[in-house]
C-alpha cells in the first residue's frame, strides 16, 4: 500500500529522474551518457578534469569573496593608505607548484588515453568500414562484404568496428556523441577510428566540421544490433537483387521512372561502386529521410520535387527534370518498398 508519503516520494523520484535525464540531453545523442568505449574514455577525463578544475575555481572564489568582504573601503577610511607589499616568494612558489602537480594528475591519464584510443593493432581482424563524407550525406562501404549503404550504419554490439574515413569534397567530421568522440574526415590522409558500442540501439551521429550550408543537416545513425542480427542483415543485404520488380503497379511505374530519369547515374541500388549520391539499397528501412526528416511518403515526395528547400546546397538539386506529383509519388512508392531486411532501426529499438 502506498501512503501519501510514498506517493510523494515516487513522484519526487520520477521528477528528479526526468530532470536528470533532460539535464543530460537526449539519450543516444548526448555525450554525457556514454554508451561506447570512446565516449567512456572521454567521459572519464571530462569528469576528472571537471573535478580538479572545480576545486581550483573554489579556491579562487573563496579568496575572492573573503577579499572583497574584508578589504572593501569603509566609511572613514578615505585617507587610509594600505601597506605597499612587493610580493611573497613562498606564496609564488606555492601557486606555481600546486597547479603543476594538479596538471600532472590530468596529463598522465590524458596521454595514456590518447595512445589507447589510437591503438589500431587489431584493425585487420575486425570489421572494417570505409566511410566517405560528402556534402551532405555519409557513404558506408563494408570492406570485403560488397555492401554499400548510406546514412544508416549497422554494426554489431560489443565489437570493435574500424571506420576508415575519407572525404570526397570538403572536410567533415564524424561524431556519434554517445558512442565516441569525433574524428575529422579529410579529403586527404585517410583517418581511422573505431567504435565499440556497449548497448544495442540507434545512435545519433552528426557532422562536426563546418562543411557548407547544410552542415547542420548532415545527421546519420549508427544502428547497433546483436551479432546474430548483424549476420542476418549482412546476408539480407548481399541477397538483394537490384533488378527485382516490385509487386504493386504504382511502384513498378516508379521503378521505370527511376530509370527513365537516369537516377542511377548517381544512386545505386544493390552493391555498386557508384557513390555520387547515396546508395538506396535499403532506402525503405532508413531511420530518416535525408538524415533529418521522418521517412514518410509525403516527405519523400517533397524531397523529390524540391530537395533544395530541405537541404540547401545539396548536389541533387537541378540534376534531373522537374517531377510531376504523379511521377514523384510513383518513385516514392518504389523507393519506400526497398526493404531488404527485417533488421531495421525500428527493430533495433528506435
Amino acid at each position: 500500500m502506498l501512503g501519501w508519503m510514498g506517493k510523494f516520494r515516487a513522484l519526487f523520484l520520477l521528477g528528479s529522474l526526468a530532470l536528470v535525464l533532460s539535464g543530460c540531453g537526449k539519450e543516444n545523442l548526448t555525450a554525457l551518457v556514454p554508451k561506447g568505449y570512446g565516449a567512456e574514455s572521454s567521459m572519464d577525463l571530462i569528469i576528472l578534469t571537471t573535478v580538479i578544475m572545480l576545486f581550483v575555481f573554489a579556491v579562487v572564489m573563496v579568496i575572492y569573496v573573503i577579499t572583497l568582504i574584508r578589504f572593501r573601503k569603509k566609511k572613514g577610511q578615505e585617507d587610509y593608505i594600505p601597506k605597499q607589499v612587493e610580493g611573497n616568494q613562498t606564496l609564488e612558489t606555492v601557486w606555481t607548484v600546486i597547479p603543476i602537480l594538479l596538471l600532472i594528475i590530468i596529463a598522465v591519464p590524458t596521454v595514456l588515453a590518447t595512445f589507447d584510443l589510437a591503438d589500431e593493432t587489431d584493425a585487420k581482424d575486425s570489421i572494417n568500414i570505409n566511410v566517405t563524407g560528402n556534402q551532405y550525406w555519409w557513404h558506408f562501404d563494408y570492406a570485403g562484404e560488397e555492401i554499400q549503404t548510406s546514412q544508416d550504419l549497422y554494426i554489431p554490439v560489443g565489437e570493435k568496428v574500424y571506420l576508415n574515413m575519407l572525404s570526397s569534397d570538403v572536410i567533415h567530421s564524424l561524431w556519434v556523441p554517445s558512442l565516441s568522440g569525433k574524428m575529422d574526415v579529410n579529403p586527404e590522409n585517410e583517418n581511422t577510428m573505431y567504435i565499440e558500442a556497449y548497448e544495442e540501439g540507434v545512435y545519433w551521429g552528426k557532422c562536426a566540421e563546418f562543411c557548407g550550408p547544410s552542415h547542420s543537416l548532415m545527421d546519420f545513425k549508427i544502428v547497433v544490433v546483436s551479432p546474430e542480427e548483424y549476420e542476418t542483415w549482412i546476408a539480407d543485404m548481399q541477397n538483394v537483387d537490384p533488378e527485382q520488380e516490385p509487386q504493386d503497379t504504382v511502384a513498378l511505374e516508379g521503378q521505370a521512372l527511376f530509370e527513365e530519369n537516369n537516377c542511377m547515374a548517381c544512386h545505386a541500388i544493390g552493391s555498386s561502386p557508384v557513390a555520387t549520391g547515396p546508395n538506396l539499397t535499403n532506402f525503405g528501412d532508413r531511420s530518416r529521410l535525408a538524415g533529418i526528416k521522418e521517412l514518410t511518403k509525403d516527405n519523400l515526395v517533397d524531397w523529390l520535387q524540391d530537395p533544395e528547400t530541405i537541404k540547401p546546397g545539396n548536389k541533387m538539386t537541378g540534376k534531373y527534370p522537374a517531377l510531376s506529383d504523379e511521377d514523384a509519388d510513383a518513385i516514392a512508392e518504389y523507393l519506400l518498398q526497398l526493404q531488404p531486411s527485417d533488421i531495421t532501426p525500428e527493430s533495433a529499438g528506435n
Binding site: 578544475m53 578589504f71 594600505p82 609564488e92 588515453a113 540547401p312
Partner: protein, 617 residues
C-alpha cells in the same frame, strides 16, 4: 587648449585634422571609434545568430545567410573590434605611461590605422556585392577555396589589408617602448599595461606573418588558379589549418594579454596597493607569450595527427595554465589587504576574475586531447572561447574604457549607467554562454544553422538567446552613457582615480605634445612615489625647451586607399578584364604614395619654449 581650438573649427577642418593626424592620442581615438562601430556590427550579427537559434528548426534566416553571419561575426569581432579597440587603448595610453611625447613612428602609426580601417570596410563591402564570406572565420580549406562567389575573396583581401596595419602597429610599439621611455623608466619599472603591450607587439611581429602567408596562398588558389590546398592537384588542405592556427593561437594571447595588463593597473589603483608580485607578473606574461606559440595544434586534435603530436600539444597547452594561475593569484593578493574602491572600471575587473577563471578551467579541460574529441567543434568550445574572449578581452576593454575615458576624452563616464551596463552585460553573458557548455556535450556542434526538434536542445538555446538580449541591452546603455558623457559629462581632473602611473601626471586630455618636460621616473608607480613623498607631481628630467613635433600627413590615408582600390582589382580580375584598371591604378596610388613619402623631406616643426611657457600648466 588644443581641445578648445578643435571645438571652434568647422566640421571639414576637424575631418581633415583626423584624416591627416599622426598624434597617437587622436589615432587612439580613431581606433576606438572604428573598433566601436565594428563591435556594434559584430554584435548585431551575434543577435541575428541567437534569434535564428531561439527555437528548433527556425527559419529566421536562410542557411547561406546564417553562414555569412557566423563568419562575419567571428572575423569582425576578432580583427575589427577586439584588436583595434585594444590598439586604440595602447595608442592612447602606452606612450603616456612611459613618459613619451609620441610613438616612435607617428607616420607609420597613422598608416597602420588606415590600413586596418580600409581592410574592415573591404570585408563589409562584401555584404553589398553578392554575399559576405561564408566559410567560417577560420576559412578552412577546401571549403574556403570552393566557396562560390567572391565572399571569401573579400575575406582574403580585407584581412590582408588590416593584418598589414596591425603588423605596423606592433613594430611601432616595440620600437617606442625600447627607445622612448622617459629617463629612469627602466623595463622593470614599466606599468603592466605597457609590459603587455610590449609582449603583445612581439607576438604580433611573429604571429601575423603566418596569417599573411596563409592568406597569400589562399589568394593565389582562389584568384590565380594555384592549387596549394587542392588535394586533387597534389596540394594539401591541412596546411591551411596549421598556418591559420600558428597565427590564430598567439592571436588569442595578443587579445588577452593587454587585458591582463590593464586589469593589473586597475586592481593596483583601486585597491591603493602596489601590484603584488610585479616581477612574477612580468615573467608570467612572457612565459604565456612564449608558450602561446607552442600550442597551436590543440585546435586540431581531431584532424588525425596521431597520438604523439596530440599528447605533446595537450601537455604544452596545460602548461599555460600555470603562468595564468600565477596571474590570478597575484591579482587576488593585490586586492588582499588593500582599500578597495568599487566603481564601474573596478566592477568589470572584478567580474573578470570569476568569468575568466571559468574560461581558463574549460581551457585545461579542452586541452585533455581525448576529452576534446567530445568538446571539439561543439558549443562547449563556443562557450569556452567566449568565456575567454568576452569574459577576458571584452570585460578588459570595457574596464579600460571606464578607467581611461577621462584621460582620453577629458570627461568621466556616468557611474550609474556604468554600473547598469556592467550588471546587465555580466548577467546576460553568463546566461548566454554558461548553458552552452552543456549544449555542446548534449550533442550540439557549432556553426549549426538549425538544431532539430526533440533533441533536448530547445531549453538551453532559448536561455542562451535571452541572455544575448541582456548583453545587447548593456551595450546600448553604454552607448547612451558615452553620448551623455560627451554632452553633459563631468569634466575630468588630471588624476581622477588617485592614480599611480605617469598618464595621470598630465592633464585630461593631455596637450598634443604630452609632457612639457619629460618626467624623471624614480621607481615603479612613479606618480605614487611622488605623492607619498609629498610632492604630488613629477620632477622634470629636462629643462623647458623646444619640442620637435611631426607634421600631419594625408599620405597614409591615400596609400591605404590605393591598396583598397587595388584589392577590388585583384578580386574582380577573375571575371572582368576591366578590373585590371583598378588593380594597376590602385597599386600606382599606393606605391606612388610610398615614393612621395620617400622623396619628400618632412622635418616636422618645433613648438618653441616661449609658446610652451605661455600655455598654463
Amino acid at each position: 587648449m588644443s581641445n578648445a581650438a578643435t571645438q571652434n573649427k568647422g566640421f571639414a577642418a576637424v575631418l581633415w585634422d583626423y584624416l591627416t593626424t599622426v598624434d597617437h592620442k587622436k589615432i587612439g581615438k580613431l581606433y576606438l571609434y572604428a573598433g566601436g562601430l565594428f563591435f556594434l556590427l559584430g554584435g548585431l550579427e551575434a543577435m541575428i545568430i541567437r534569434i535564428q537559434l531561439i527555437k528548433p528548426e527556425n527559419n529566421f534566416i536562410s542557411a547561406g545567410l546564417y553562414n555569412e553571419m557566423i563568419t562575419m561575426h567571428g572575423t569582425t569581432m576578432i580583427f575589427l573590434a577586439a584588436m583595434p579597440l585594444l590598439l586604440g587603448l595602447m595608442n592612447a595610453i602606452m606612450p603616456l605611461q612611459i613618459g613619451a611625447r609620441d610613438v616612435a613612428f607617428p607616420f607609420l602609426n597613422s598608416l597602420g590605422f588606415w590600413m586596418f580601417l580600409f581592410g574592415g570596410i573591404m570585408l563589409n563591402v562584401s555584404w553589398f556585392t553578392g554575399g559576405a564570406p561564408d566559410s567560417g572565420w577560420t576559412a578552412y580549406a577546401p571549403l574556403s577555396t570552393q566557396s562560390p562567389g567572391h565572399g571569401v575573396d573579400y575575406y582574403v583581401m580585407g584581412l590582408q589589408l588590416s593584418g598589414a596595419g596591425t603588423l605596423m602597429g606592433g613594430i611601432n610599439f616595440l620600437v617606442t617602448i625600447v627607445n622612448m621611455r622617459a629617463p629612469g623608466m627602466t623595463y622593470m619599472r614599466m606599468p603592466l599595461f605597457t609590459w603587455t603591450t610590449f609582449v603583445v607587439s612581439i607576438l604580433i611581429l611573429f604571429a601575423f606573418p603566418a596569417l599573411t602567408v596563409g592568406l597569400f596562398l589562399l589568394m593565389f588558389d582562389r584568384m590565380f588558379g594555384a592549387a596549394f590546398f587542392d588535394v586533387a592537384l597534389g596540394g594539401n588542405s591541412i596546411i591551411w589549418q596549421h598556418l591559420f592556427w600558428i597565427f590564430g593561437h598567439p592571436e588569442v594571447y595578443i587579445l588577452i594579454l593587454p587585458a591582463f595588463g590593464l586589469f593589473s593597473d586597475i586592481f593596483s589603483t583601486f585597491s591603493k596597493k602596489r601590484l603584488f608580485g610585479y616581477t612574477a607578473m612580468v615573467f608570467a606574461t612572457i612565459l604565456i607569450a612564449f608558450l602561446g606559440f607552442m600550442v597551436w595544434a590543440h585546435h586540431m586534435f581531431t584532424v588525425g595527427m596521431g597520438p604523439v603530436a596530440n599528447s605533446i600539444f595537450a601537455i604544452a597547452t596545460m602548461a599555460i595554465a600555470v603562468p595564468t594561475g600565477i596571474k590570478i593569484f597575484n591579482w587576488l593578493l593585490t586586492l588582499w589587504g588593500g582599500s578597495i574602491t568599487i566603481n564601474s572600471a573596478m566592477l568589470w575587473s572584478l567580474g573578470f576574475i570569476p568569468s575568466f577563471t571559468l574560461g581558463g578551467m574549460t581551457g585545461v579541460m579542452v586541452a585533455a586531447a581525448v576529452a576534446d574529441y567530445q568538446y571539439h567543434d561543439t558549443y562547449f568550445v563556443v562557450a569556452h572561447f567566449h568565456y575567454v574572449i568576452v569574459g577576458g578581452v571584452v570585460f578588459g576593454i570595457l574596464a579600460g574604457l571606464h578607467y581611461w575615458w577621462p584621460k582620453i576624452f577629458g570627461r568621466i563616464l556616468h557611474e550609474g549607467m556604468g554600473k547598469l551596463t556592467f550588471w546587465t552585460f555580466f548577467i546576460g553573458f553568463h546566461l548566454t554562454f554558461f548553458i552552452q557548455h552543456f549544449l555542446g556535450l548534449m550533442g550540439m556542434p557549432r556553426r549549426y544553422w538549425v538544431f532539430l526538434e526533440d533533441q533536448g536542445l530547445d531549453t538551453g538555446n532559448l536561455i542562451s538567446t535571452i541572455g544575448a538580449f541582456f548583453m545587447a541591452f548593456g551595450v546600448i546603455v553604454f552607448l547612451i552613457n558615452a553620448i551623455y558623457t560627451a554632452v553633459k559629462g563631468e569634466k575630468a581632473p588630471a588624476d581622477p582615480w588617485d592614480g599611480r602611473t605617469l598618464e595621470w601626471a598630465i592633464s585630461s586630455p593631455p596637450p598634443h605634445y604630452n609632457f612639457k618636460q619629460l618626467p624623471l621616473v624614480r621607481g615603479l608607480d612613479p606618480l605614487w612615489i611622488e605623492k607619498m613623498e609629498g610632492k604630488g607631481k613629477m620632477t622634470p628630467a629636462e629643462p623647458l625647451g623646444d619640442i620637435h613635433m611631426p607634421n600631419g600627413s594625408i599620405i597614409p590615408f591615400v596609400m591605404s586607399l590605393g591598396f583598397f582600390i587595388a584589392s577590388f582589382g585583384f578580386i574582380y580580375q577573375t571575371n572582368y578584364d576591366i578590373a585590371y584598371i583598378f588593380l594597376f591604378g590602385g597599386m600606382a596610388i599606393g606605391l606612388g604614395s610610398m615614393l612621395v613619402r620617400s622623396l619628400k623631406d618632412d622635418h616636422g616643426y618645433h613648438i618653441t619654449k616661449e609658446e610652451l611657457e605661455r600655455e598654463a600648466d
